[in-house]
């Protein structure tokens, strides 16, 4: 047990000194700064457009507008002709408006909390997996190409323990990446939009019933909790993508090939569902199931048979299969370097 612990320690130190984590850190800082700046610009333009189109200063007059909307929604709830299935979402919307009014927050405004959540919702299906690949794709193949694998294997440690230490290191670093993404996004966007917004209510609880978006169970959760759920799902995605690319790194000897394979798979996955939407089998691919946060926000296109549990099961299946393949192959293969 102690041996495994020090093996992991060794792997982590190696990772840090290979400057991989520093690269991830730098990429996050640069990209998040650019996104936050862009968001800020968009926000200004939206305000200008609204003012231009509506003829009222949408930015100053929002309290009156919100009050009006509140009254209308209350009427809608009371009306006998209102749609039963929409009641929950109307109620949720009313709670949000009321919160905005009570706390004097213009719903148009961004906040660090909103941005941090949005960032991960957008990053979860491509950007975050790419960061994880940077760490995982050469974990084993890198040792093969540089020949250091021999030095590791001649020591008195069973092969599975070597691989396990590498895998656990990867899982550990995935937490660090998700954590870094959160902290950096929260701090940088804080400078642009102010550090608040963590208590604002966010609607969630959408479900899919027989291929249709069901909003009867919608409820508000505070933004911090919503953020936590988004980042947890992001970690799950990181874990799955990490496992798969770890497997490829075990199977393929060259680092470049390993990165190429997993990256092209991911990129292809982003438009495969677009081209092959009628082809049922695509939904068992891991790439089309990565947008887990869409289930939280209810912004997905309901597809028959796809829901949160389905996606998580598929992803988990891929991860477990990858781990098994990695360990079986690594302990059985001949290493001829």
């Amino acid at each position: 047990m102690m041996k495994l612990f020090s093996l992991i320690e060794n792997e982590v130190i190696k990772m840090v000194f290979k400057k991989r984590l520093i690269f991830v850190f730098a990429i996050l800082i640069v990209l998040i700064s650019v996104f936050a700046y862009g968001q800020n610009k968009t926000l200004e333009r939206t305000k200008a457009q609204l003012t231009h189109r509506m003829g009222i200063t949408a930015t100053d007059d929002w309290r009156k507008l919100a009050n009006q909307q509140l009254i209308d929604m209350k009427n809608r709830l009371d009306s006998p002709y209102s749609d039963e299935t929409r009641k929950a979402s109307t109620q949720v919307r009313m709670e949000q408006l009321q919160y905005n009014l009570d706390q004097n927050i213009n719903p148009l405004e961004q906040s660090a909390a909103k941005f941090t959540t949005k960032f991960m919702e957008q990053a979860i299906f491509l950007f975050l997996p790419l960061l994880i690949i940077m760490l995982s794709a050469d974990m084993v193949s890198g040792e093969c190409s540089s020949g250091t694998i021999k030095l590791i294997l001649v020591r008195n440690v069973p092969r599975w323990k070597v691989l396990l230490s590498k895998y656990l290191t990867l899982m550990l670093l995935e937490v660090i990446v998700v954590f870094l993404a959160f902290v950096i996004a929260a701090i940088i966007s804080g400078f642009f939009f102010g550090f608040g917004g963590w208590l604002a209510p966010v609607a969630t609880g959408f479900k899919v019933l027989v291929g249709k978006l069901d909003t009867t169970g919608v409820l508000n959760v505070p933004q911090w909790q919503y953020s936590l759920m988004v980042y947890s799902l992001a970690y799950f995605v990181a874990f799955v993508v990490g496992s798969i690319s770890f497997m490829i790194s075990v199977l393929v000897k060259s680092t470049a090939a390993s990165i190429g394979i997993i990256m092209s798979t991911l990129v292809a996955g982003n438009f495969i569902s677009f081209f092959l939407s009628d082809w049922k089998i695509t939904r068992y691919m891991f790439m089309v199931n990565l947008r887990l946060t869409d289930y939280l926000s209810g912004s997905f296109q309901p597809i028959e048979g796809m829901n949160m549990l389905f996606s998580i099961t598929v992803l988990l299946g891929w991860a477990i299969a990858s781990i098994i393949v990695s360990f079986v192959y690594f302990t059985k293969q001949d290493i001829l370097v």
Binding site: V16, L65, N67, I176, F179, G205, K207, L233
Partner: protein
């Protein structure tokens, strides 16, 4: 030493992070899969049946008015929460001693296809049969979203929307007449609530829309098209609510007054 402390701090962050993320993951699954009682199909039946029987059966001492359509029909925007449902009877009362019974079936955000589906679902069939007047306001939600397009795309989209709208409207009137061939159908035209969008192009589109609507509506001998854009054009500040889209209380009153004038003879005469 540096290595050791770095390793331990990474390990600590990772372990704490892992536990926190696991909790979050559990919550995320619960919140998206937790089973709440599915809305029973039966819930709709008791809800709609009182609506269609709420009004006493047809008699000679009352007028029944049915209001159909979008948020304007419903009265959205009125700071007193009244809308046509309460102003129309007020104005009608000036010309007749009879009771005025109003049924408002307006739904926010309804577009022409929605109205058609509402009628085809037959939930309102009895109410329609009993009505003497049917006020319809529809179309605003069909056309509203094209305002943000550029002029070229706007023209194309406009033609598409207008065609599908007219098709739906034709079916709607047919459905209304199937239930009740005798009632007076009062159809409200569209107005432009945006002070800034009153260029030649936008005005032309609005007029094309209203003109085509009027042609179609008044093919029916017992239907009347009530224009609204002229009344609101220079009075936006006075008649449009804070949301910059719907009429306010004064706006609804002005429109109700206009409607009651248009059907004055029918009300006093019968």
């Amino acid at each position: 030493m540096l290595k050791k402390s770095m390793w331990y701090s990474i390990l600590t962050i990772a372990c704490v992070g892992f536990i926190v993320l696991s909790i979050g993951f559990y919550q995320a699954i619960i919140v998206t899969t937790a089973v709440n009682p599915p809305p029973s199909a039966e819930a709709e039946v008791p809800q709609t049946s009182p609506d269609s029987t709420k009004l006493p059966s047809k008699d000679a001492n009352s007028f029944r008015v049915l209001i159909l359509g979008d948020s304007v029909a419903k009265g959205t925007g009125d700071e007193k929460s009244k809308g046509f449902s309460s102003y129309l009877p007020d104005y009608f009362k000036k010309n007749t001693p009879k009771d005025i019974l109003v049924e408002n079936a307006g739904i926010d955000g309804l577009d022409s296809i929605g109205l058609l589906e509402q009628l085809q679902s037959q939930k309102l069939a009895k109410t329609i049969t009993d009505s003497d007047f049917i006020l319809v306001s529809i179309g605003g939600n069909d056309i509203r979203s094209i305002l943000t397009l550029n002029n070229l795309a706007k023209d194309d989209q406009f033609k598409v929307r207008l065609d599908s709208y007219l098709g739906n409207l034709k079916q709607t009137i047919k459905a209304l007449r199937a239930s009740n061939p005798n009632s007076i159908v009062i159809f409200l035209g569209l107005y432009n609530p945006y002070a800034k969008a009153n260029g030649i192009e936008d005005t032309r589109l609005l007029n094309t829309w209203n003109y085509n609507t009027q042609l179609l509506v008044e093919e029916d001998g017992k239907a009347i098209f009530i224009p609204t854009s002229d009344l609101l054009k220079f009075n936006l500040g006075r008649y449009i609510a804070k949301d910059g889209l719907h009429p306010n209380s004064a706006g609804y009153q002005a429109l109700s007054n206009r409607i009651s004038k248009s059907v004055e003879m029918i009300i006093t005469g019968s």
